[in-house]
Symmetry: C5
Subunit: 83 residues, 5 copies
């Protein structure tokens, strides 16, 4: 998983079929600073520190047919200890 | 997903079997500038900002047997807010 | 797999459903220094050298429905010989 | 997919079971210059511009049990327009 | 696939269940120099040039339940021609 911070929203009206309910959020990976768009079903907000799972496991989380989603926010980070 | 901009077309006559109908578009990832070829079923045009899903979820979106497609344009971006 | 060292813990109370029992550990890849969050079921501690498997194989290891976990600590490294 | 150019051949006599008929070709990604080994079933030659699909979709293309192939040349590029 | 050279061994006594028989070998990707740990069932030795498949196709090669293995040495390289 990646540790990242939510930095914005992306809106797309023209989409392929089978995109589930939720939001496309732009996140910045920490450390590193690379960016990606993650799907969010937790109501995460800008500035929030989150855990992002990438690849087909993001799609498999959804019930029914797997949507074409390759990054999912799986949790909101409360606390981190690094040594 | 990756946020990218369509920058060109790629044509391939000699292909393996089971490539679906659609176009191969070259896209440039924003930010970053790396490039990849994404499959498009939405009629996206050069200059359009798009969302690209990569990996096996791109193939799984297609009905029937999954084609050897590892990047799919899943939406056209209307608006982005970044903080 | 990646050879990495455990450098910290990540706690997340607000999570999507179906996260199994275990810990989210921050690890630093050796050599290289890039960081990721790996799921741990072995009781690994800070400072421990570990093997991390990434991608859908991490999720498939779990019994029952595959959780949205894309990195799993699969072993604790006893010894390494490099030439 | 990646846009790449075939730059050489790789021969391996000692192999795991279930590698299908075809060739292992070394390709150089354009732009960028990184290199990988892609499996070829189209008879592609050195100097040819090709489209390469990576990951599990490469393996899934084969009939029967999926071989341990993570990169497949899916087409020969006739023409590219970039803007 | 990646073209790589075996540079060492990694031993892990404390492991998750379902790791098959074989060795964890450290390999260095050529060209590039990045390193990863690949699983070996061919008896590859230090100094040997090998082909490494990564991702879920490595796990799918094994019979029965797929183990949490994301990189597999699929062949020993006899000869390479590059142009």
């Amino acid at each position: 998983m990646l540790r990242a911070r939510v930095i914005g929203n992306v809106w797309a009206t023209k989409k392929v079929s089978s995109i589930p309910n939720g939001a496309f959020l732009e996140v910045e990976v920490e450390p590193g600073g690379s960016r990606l768009i993650a799907f969010d079903v937790l109501g995460s907000g800008v500035g929030e520190a989150v855990l992002v799972a990438t690849g087909s496991v993001a799609a498999s989380w959804f019930e029914g047919e797997a949507p074409p989603i390759d990054a999912l926010i799986i949790g909101s980070i409360d606390e981190t200890t690094s040594h």
